[in-house]
């Protein structure tokens, strides 16, 4: 009895396929695109948007006549915010659905879960979220920001423009804040900031009791130095944090807070009147004033059928990744992973903030760094925009990483030690 149930279920698992086939008139076998974003569980809100973005891009591409004369077809799976499930679904996408490319993952731990599968089966994935760096896989293109494209310029901005001398690095306790704060710690010390002038705090996911932490931050001002907060607090917890900041009367003039994980989506859960002037650092803001962005927002609203939906940085990264992949496939003339990977290095596609993004040999992109101040309407005023900065897989500010370099073009290695002139390992750390 039990066997029958499980066998039936197994059969269903192996044969069923969720697909949103685009009814288009192109000839030929469709090119399959895997979408590996959580549609349920805690990460659903962030990742569902990216799934919709990929579907929209697929629709747009099909309307343009597909790719290589073949239609595109998205295969959507739901890893349900469950990290082991990411690996399982990735394997399914690559072996059962036989997709040519995957767009997916949000959290670092989900990426680390998928990595071994990608490298084993030689898949190709575009990862669209800002992350902690210290990685470069042959099979992943990182279209989000590396620390030097977000954290370091943001801290520079705080020092230069806001005169911050004392730092509170607040983060949720997981790998991205940990590594980012480590890099920032080394960077700040390198710039002469004393050990005692850096306060670090980690809180659990969804933390809501911020009174003591905010009081601790305010108390940092006791030695007469200007205090700035670098927040890598994730998701929902930001709501309580900003509410407590506002309640404590901490204004952006006194203690500016720069956030790396707070975008338009997160602010929609908040009344931002008391937060005006606090900052966020990204590579894209919805308020970017360019024709490309206006067109994208219009398309997005049309696709999603809701003119109030905001856009955000990972969406832009998904768009850039998709366009870069399309360009590389056209250049290579095939969707096979290795030729596409060879072709994609050097591909240059427009971003939405008025510049272009180039895919670098280390599988990262060039991205401009934007600093935005929070407005009353939950959007950002862009107060600083740099020229595109090349993403650095291995940070220069940690001694073990400074000697490492990733180069998939000439050296064919994601972890190349320039000191010993040898490839440390081909596969990634996971």
């Amino acid at each position: 009895m039990k066997r029958i149930i499980s066998a039936a279920a197994a059969l269903a698992v192996s044969t069923g396929l969720a697909s949103t086939a685009q009814a288009q008139a192109q000839e030929g076998e469709p090119i399959k695109i895997g979408v590996l974003h959580s549609l349920s569980g805690t990460m659903a809100i962030s990742e569902t948007t990216l799934k919709d973005t990929v579907l929209m891009m697929v629709e747009r591409q099909n309307a343009k006549g597909g790719l290589l004369g073949r239609p595109l077809e998205a295969v959507v799976v739901d890893p349900a915010s469950d990290w082991p499930l990411f690996a399982e679904k990735a394997r399914e996408l690559l072996t059962v659905s036989e997709v040519d490319v995957i767009f997916g993952c949000w959290t670092s731990v989900s990426r680390k879960s998928v990595l071994p599968v990608l490298e084993e089966l030689n898949g190709l994935m575009f990862y669209p979220v800002q992350y902690e760096g210290e990685e470069s896989s042959k099979n992943v293109i990182y279209t989000g920001a590396a620390p030097n494209q977000q954290a370091i310029p943001a801290v520079d901005y705080m020092t230069e423009e806001l005169g911050v001398e004392k730092w509170a690095l607040l983060g949720t306790d997981y790998v991205y804040p940990r590594t980012t704060n480590n890099i920032l710690d080394a960077y700040l010390k390198g710039k002469g900031v004393a050990e005692g002038d850096i306060f670090v705090n980690y809180t659990p996911f969804g933390h809501s009791d911020w009174s003591k932490i905010v009081a601790d931050v305010v108390a940092l001002g006791a030695d007469g130095k200007k205090v700035g907060v670098v927040s890598t607090i994730n998701g929902d917890a930001n709501v309580g944090f900003y509410k407590e900041l506002a309640a404590a009367g901490v204004s952006a003039e006194d203690i500016p807070v720069i956030a790396f994980s707070v975008g338009e989506e997160e602010l929609s859960g908040l009344d931002t009147t008391n937060l005006v002037g606090h900052l966020a650092a990204w590579n894209y803001f919805q308020s970017a004033d360019t024709p490309e962005n206006a067109a994208f927002i219009e398309d997005w609203h049309k696709f999603i059928g809701d003119a109030k939906r905001v856009t955000n940085d990972p969406m832009e990264a998904t768009v850039i990744g998709f366009n870069a992949w399309v360009a590389a496939v056209e250049k290579a003339g095939t969707t096979d992973v290795d030729p596409v990977l060879d072709a994609i290095v050097g591909v240059e596609v427009p971003n939405l903030t008025g510049g272009t993004a180039t895919v670098l040999p280390n599988h990262h992109l060039t991205k401009p760094v934007l600093i935005g101040e929070i407005r009353e309407d939950g959007q950002f005023d862009i107060v600083s925009q740099t020229e595109p900065v090349p993403g650095d897989a291995w940070t220069d500010f940690l001694p073990e990483s400074a000697v490492l370099e990733a180069d998939w073009q000439d050296r064919k290695c994601g972890m190349f030690n320039t000191q010993t002139d040898s490839c440390v390992q081909i596969q990634s750390n996971y």
């Binding site: 009895m1 039990k2 066997r3 149930i5 499980s6 066998a7 279920a9 197994a10 269903a12 698992v13 192996s14 069923g16 396929l17 969720a18 549609l39 349920s40 959507v76 799976v77 739901d78 349900a80 469950d82 990290w83 082991p84 690996a87 399982e88 679904k89 394997r91 399914e92 072996t95 059962v96 670092s108 731990v109 680390k112 879960s113 990595l115 071994p116 599968v117 084993e120 902690e132 210290e134 990685e135 306790d173 997981y174 790998v175 940990r178 590594t179 704060n181 480590n182 980690y202 659990p204 073990e400 990483s401 010993t420 040898s422 490839c423 440390v424 390992q425 596969q427 750390n429 996971y430």
Partner: protein, 411 residues
């Protein structure tokens, strides 16, 4: 009293073993590595993992269905088993990579340097480069295999000794076990505790020393191992609950105080079963996570353990095969419904997307099962076998209200 052989006392054992053997053989013959390839590797992995979950459910049934302790922290042992084997998998794999990389250096590395490089490789992700004390045995497979059962076993022993000694039971004990797994999860979430925090241990599907073996083959091997472990533990559990020992623990479940008055060392019995179940669960975890590929503290949040209890409840507690059926059925169904494969259900005016509504349906089905089918799926088998509870119209079996309802009396 003459003792019949185990098989005769428990005819279900033979059936289960036979089904398990047939299933394993069938999957092997349909797999990509050893057969026609109809069943893809990813499905083999899912089936292997499901067997491990069934094993965990079996242990849960021992604790809950037979001993009457609703442990809401059982998955802590499962994850601990995974962490213990994961340490070796990670360390040994990284060591091999690092050693290969360092072999290219002009000066051969010292043992110390090798160790540091491995630590840096493993903990570099979370911004540390020292090997924590908890990794002292990570280089040795034997040591970690011992730890797989030793660590959860000792934890269960210590926790159980404290809790049973102070007569914490019933709902209190459930909440306490839940608090235990929550504390452990939060502790593992911290980077400082040396288990890579939220990132957990990953890349576990790559078995060190078996680099040449493709995942297709490895997945079948793990399926075999999981099936074998399940079969062994099933026989062990069936033997345990069928003898006098089984009678005593069922008596403890039904009325602990009376058993104590009869002179049985209740705490000892509870401790033995609780610890044994923890060890079985840990073995299941140690087999599960190399197939899953990654383990992180989210795996032992209280919710996971509650799900385990629910599987057992749906399958039918107090029946070993019931627990297994529940785990297998619900976890496979869950995976099917959340996989976005289930066809949408069009209702007039609203289309039910299962990705959104599966949890609602699952939640309501718990309610329905507890209300209308307290014996779960196994109740069907009981009915077929003619094991029917006497009709007592809701009256208690014993004099006090603490005694169990008639429907559970026979179980």
């Amino acid at each position: 009293m003459t003792r019949q052989p185990l098989i005769l006392r428990n005819p279900s054992v033979l059936v289960v073993l036979a089904l398990l053997a047939v299933f394993t053989l069938a999957v092997t013959l349909l797999s990509q590595a050893y057969g026609s390839g109809v069943v893809p590797t990813s499905t083999v992995k899912i089936l292997g993992k499901t067997l491990c979950l069934a094993l965990a459910a079996l242990a849960m049934d021992l604790v809950w269905g037979y001993l009457g302790i609703l442990s809401l922290g059982q998955m802590a042992f499962f994850a601990l088993g995974g962490y213990m084997i994961g340490q070796w998998l990670m360390y040994a794999r990284t060591e091999a990579i690092v050693a290969a990389a360092m072999a290219g250096n002009p000066i051969p590395p010292t043992a110390q340097e090798l160790r540091e490089a491995v630590a840096n490789q493993i903990f570099g992700v979370v911004g540390s480069s020292e090997l924590p004390l908890a990794w002292a045995f990570a280089h040795s497979l034997t040591a970690q295999l011992v730890l797989v059962v030793a660590v959860p076993g000792l934890l269960a022993l210590a926790f159980g000794w404290l809790a049973f000694r102070s007569r914490v039971n019933g709902v209190y004990l459930s909440i306490l076990t839940q608090a235990m797994t929550l504390a452990l999860a939060l502790w593992l979430f911290q980077n400082d505790s040396g288990f890579r925090g939220n990132n957990g241990l990953s890349g576990l599907q790559n078995i060190p020393g078996l680099d040449g073996v493709p995942q297709a083959t490895l997945s079948v091997w793990f399926l075999w191992a999981s099936a074998a472990a399940l079969a062994l533990c099933y026989v062990l559990a069936a033997w345990l609950v069928s003898g006098k020992f089984g009678s005593v623990i069922r008596a403890i479940r039904d009325d602990e105080t009376r058993v104590r008055f009869l002179g049985y060392p209740v705490e000892g019995f509870k401790l033995v079963v609780f610890t044994l179940a923890a060890m079985i669960t840990a073995v299941a975890g140690a087999l599960y996570y190399p197939q899953a590929g990654i383990i992180n503290p989210a795996e032992l949040m209280p919710i996971a353990s509650i799900y385990l209890a629910v599987w057992v409840a749906i399958g039918g507690r107090g029946r070993l095969y019931g627990a297994m059926i529940g785990a297998i059925a619900v976890s496979l169904l869950s995976s099917w419904f959340t996989g976005g494969r289930a066809p949408d259900l069009p209702l007039p005016g609203y289309t039910v997307k299962w990705v959104d509504w599966w949890q609602v349906a699952l939640g309501l089905s718990f309610v329905l099962v507890t209300l209308f089918a307290p014996k779960g799926i196994a109740g069907i088998f009981d009915r077929l076998a003619g094991v029917l509870p006497p009709r007592r119209h809701g009256r208690d079996l014993g004099p006090g209200q603490g005694a169990l309802q008639e429907k559970e009396a026979k179980a």
